[in-house]
């Protein structure tokens, strides 16, 4: 109780004046009684937002008062007058007005300089590293998949088939699990046995799958079971979320519409607790400003509508959203007015229960590692925090190694 008061006081300072050094925050946390995992509310929802392609952190949270920034980016650097100021050193890209509004409401923790040792600059491998939380060796299952496997051991099943959901056509590596079947829902319409107008055919398919007998190869029984679940799953999902009406106006783009579906899943009795959403294409090697600003606009405006909708339904305090990207980008702009693959980046953790503010210092633009930013906070600390403080799971059950948690929730 006492420590809690200390942290929020410190954060009050952080929001107003500058950043609380993460080390100090961690030290404060370490003195306190550990946040018992078991106390995490079972109704807590985690929304993971992937910024695919490698989001340029320096034009997201802009070190506008740093001369080195403007020297490195004479063309693509943001005008200090245009940024949405957080403090006298950093400010949001104006495309992030939606996120800035949430930040001013105290709902955003901005974690600066997040990365990991020996960063990988391949999209594919770096994405794997973030999604499996395993920089050193390949892992078959994702960090959330491993969480699900620990949570549902020995063939137990989640109470709802929609407890964890990937919004998109493919299951992200983060949610690949050994034992739990996570549906990937690209669009509600596609998550359905579709026979167009021929409802008799759909009806007959139901008869066939319901009547499918076990026997033969062991796979036949499994396939018959899965066919039955898949056949009914779409209708079941639609029935569960039918009563929900959005109480915010969402933008019409695909990302915002996925957040709308996420709010619907959260606000109805689908039992959804983990959602993965992806926004592309941040790989801005050329003509960065137009492309990244557009995407950041989608991110900020989508999130603002999402949290307005959640708040109107009284759900904002139990929904924690966090962003990640496979890497940030190089400090110096390239010859095509873009940026190449880099390293550390800022992460946003958003929600009504979040202790808003700035955590950690902005990475130095002069003390670089081969032209790239040095990271200050290991991304596995962010995951460990989410696992322990939000999902109520001992991080060491899921992540190899020991990483300090952060006082952000």
């Amino acid at each position: 109780m006492k420590r809690r008061a200390f942290v929020s006081t410190s954060l009050g300072v952080a929001v107003l004046g500058g950043a609380m050094p993460l080390g100090l925050a961690q030290a404060a946390l370490a003195q306190a009684a550990p946040l018992a995992g078991a106390t995490a509310d079972p109704g807590n929802v985690l929304v993971v937002i992937q910024l695919a392609g490698g989001n340029d952190g320096l034009n997201t949270v802009v070190p506008y008062s740093d001369d080195a920034y403007h020297q490195a980016r004479p063309v693509i650097g943001l005008d200090p007058k245009s940024v949405l100021r957080i403090n006298d050193r950093i400010g949001f890209n104006p495309a992030l007005a939606g996120l800035d509004a949430l930040f001013k409401d105290g709902k955003v923790a901005l974690l600066q300089g997040v990365g990991y040792p020996n960063p990988n600059r391949s999209h594919f491998e770096a994405t794997e590293i973030w999604e499996t939380a395993s920089p050193d060796r390949p892992q078959q299952y994702g960090w959330l998949g491993r969480y699900l496997d620990r949570r549902y051991p020995n063939g137990t099943k989640p109470p709802s088939p929609f407890e964890s959901v990937a919004l998109g056509d493919t299951l992200p590596a983060a949610l690949v699990s050994a034992h739990v079947d996570v549906p990937a829902i690209g669009a509600l319409g596609a998550f359905s046995y579709n026979t167009g107008r021929d409802l008799a055919s759909k009806q007959s398919a139901g008869v066939l799958y319901d009547g499918a007998k076990a026997g033969g190869s062991p796979y036949l029984a499994m396939i018959a079971d899965t066919a039955r679940e898949a056949y009914h799953g779409g209708d079941e999902l639609r029935a569960k979320i039918a009563g929900y009406t959005a109480r915010a106006t969402y933008p019409t783009d695909g990302f915002a519409q996925q957040l709308k579906l996420a709010a619907q899943l959260i606000g109805s009795n689908a039992g959804t607790r983990i959602i993965f959403v992806s926004l592309g294409s941040f790989d801005t090697h050329a003509g960065q400003r137009a492309q990244q600003d557009r995407l950041l606009g989608l991110l900020g405006n989508g999130l603002r509508a999402f949290y307005a909708d959640l708040a109107a339904h009284g759900n904002d305090k139990r929904v924690l959203a966090m962003t990640f990207s496979e890497f940030g980008r190089r400090v110096t702009q390239n010859a095509s007015n873009g940026t190449d693959h880099g390293t550390a980046m800022p992460i946003f953790v958003i929600g009504g229960a979040v202790r808003g503010g700035v955590y950690g210092d902005h990475p130095s633009l002069t003390d670089l590692d081969h032209g790239d930013l040095k990271f200050a906070t290991d991304f596995r600390s962010v995951y460990a925090t989410v696992l322990q403080s939000w999902l109520g799971r001992n991080p060491s059950d899921v992540i190899a190694g020991s990483f300090p948690t952060l006082p952000i929730v």
């Binding site: 299951l171 579709n194 167009g196 008799a200 055919s201 796979y219 396939i223």
Partner: protein
């Protein structure tokens, strides 16, 4: 435990299955000389290719098992049927990564669909999954060349194949061997060659990885082509897998293939690709010895497997889930499609197997990992979009004629049409209940309401096409059709 090595050829439509157990090793690999009808022919064509067309199955069912395999090995395509490189690539700009990738995917899928040399193309897919290289890191142009390499050498000599893969630009990029130099060794390729491609985890030491990496130095990529640079090669003495010398990449490959554990590793891989998962140790040993005695000849080894009693055993029959590519191409071949729907690469990604893009260097996990509710719906809706709801999908569906499958039945006799359909497409591997449901659908006697006129009329000329499409889709969406 008794494990029959003979397929149950009775008329009982139960899908045969017997649990794993000890095996009569002396007869398991002996050439199968038993009954060879439509079920055996369809099984062979599913495993040694992407599934037979109804005409293929009928023609093969007239042969015996040995002559059927002869026909598979002697198949050829008329000159000029295919090109060895997607021609569109030369006109696309570097920025068009997505279109370039799609062009290579469609080029390969088309070959799977139309080639008479089905086994060569199936082996290409087996090696794509084995030497799992992904277009997410290696450019589409290099991937096309790697696929063509598997096509040309996939049934040749494994030692030669591995030497070619070691020089293959897509692989040099994928596992970073292009950066592996005397000055700065990169162990990625040396490690995966042993762990995933030839020996398996636990059959080499970390010293072997380090020493092997030294042997693999010097191979780089320039202008998309492999380049050997002697100045980057570590010409020193290495001790690799217990042998000491100034080994080159090819020396290391020679040493690897001579390991008995490698021979068993490849034997297991081929058995799992063509017969069933978790093969018996005696069976692995028998195939490993064919492989070793043949001097790593893949055609001889695969040939021995698909000619054998165990290949036609009840344990092998419809025992594994079809991969998405097997399912999709098999379906298109069954319904007589002559071209690939342009959206197929994306549809396959939703099913969990985007061609050219295996998820890791280990390839696709396969088996039960193929099957979950999302991938199952992707499979169902692929069939439905292709066949059942033809009006909505005419833009993307190839010109298919599902009614050809039941033409022999003639008329509007629902019983006869269903008999014909399940015989042609599923070799009668269904139960009586399934037939009853399919007949009820055609007759309109199932209780379903419908907004479609077709279902308010008795089965007849007015609704024939719609009903036939519906019943073909229902049949191909049966769980048993998900099994290879």
């Amino acid at each position: 435990m008794d494990v029959s090595t003979k397929l149950d050829t009775s008329t009982d439509p139960q899908v045969g299955f017997r649990p794993a157990g000890s095996l009569d090793a002396s007869s398991a690999l002996a050439p199968y000389g038993g009954h060879f009808g439509p079920r055996q022919a369809a099984h062979l064509l599913r495993r040694a290719g992407f599934g037979g067309t109804p005409d293929d199955i009928a023609a093969f069912a007239q042969l015996d098992a040995q002559r059927a395999v002869d026909a598979i090995f002697h198949a050829s395509d008329p000159d000029g049927t295919f090109v060895d490189y997607p021609p569109e690539l030369s006109t696309m700009t570097a920025a068009q990564y997505g279109p370039r990738k799609t062009a290579v995917q469609l080029w390969w899928l088309d070959r799977m669909l139309r080639t008479r040399r089905q086994l060569a193309e199936k082996m290409t897919l087996v090696w794509h999954n084995h030497f799992a290289t992904a277009v997410s890191k290696s450019p589409p142009e290099m991937m096309a060349e790697q696929i063509d390499l598997f096509r040309l050498q996939g049934l040749g000599n494994f030692r030669t194949l591995l030497a070619s893969v070691t020089r293959d630009p897509a692989m040099l990029v994928w596992l970073d061997n292009r950066y592996n130099t005397k000055q700065h060794p990169n162990e990625n390729y040396a490690r995966e060659v042993m762990e995933l491609f030839t020996l398996g985890l636990g059959n080499y030491t970390e010293d072997d990885v380090r020493e092997g990496a030294r042997a693999f130095t010097g191979w780089t990529v320039k202008n998309g082509q492999p380049l050997y640079r002697a100045d980057l090669h570590d010409a020193g003495v290495k001790t690799f897998l217990g042998r000491t010398g100034a080994w080159t990449a090819d020396d290391a490959i020679d040493i690897i293939v001579q390991q008995p554990i490698h021979q068993r590793f490849i034997a297991r891989k081929l058995l799992e690709s063509f017969v069933y998962s978790d093969p018996e140790p005696e069976l692995i040993e028998a195939v490993a010895s064919v492989y070793a005695i043949s001097g790593y000849d893949l055609a001889k080894t695969v040939g021995a497997i698909i000619r054998s009693n165990v290949f036609y055993s009840a344990r092998a029959y419809r025992a594994e889930p079809k991969s998405p590519i097997e399912f999709a191409i098999g379906t298109l071949r069954t319904i007589g499609a002559t071209s690939i729907p342009p959206n197929l690469p994306g549809v396959l990604a939703r099913m969990g197997q985007e061609p050219l893009n295996p998820p890791t260097v280990k390839g696709w996990d396969g088996g039960p990992a193929w099957i979950n509710t999302s991938t199952m719906l992707a499979r169902f809706n692929f069939i439905n979009a292709l066949i059942a709801t033809n009006t909505a999908a005419t833009k993307t569906a190839p010109n298919v004629s599902p009614d050809a499958l039941v033409r022999a039945a003639g008329g509007f006799d629902a019983q006869r049409i269903v008999q014909n359909l399940v015989a042609t497409t599923l070799q009668n591997d269904v139960t009586g209940d399934v037939r009853t449901t399919l007949v009820a659908y055609l007759d309109g006697t199932n209780a379903g309401e419908s907004t479609q006129m077709a279902n308010e009329l008795p089965f007849g000329p007015e609704n024939y096409q719609e009903k036939i499409r519906g019943v073909v889709a229902l049949t191909l969406n049966l769980p048993v059709n998900q099994l290879n």
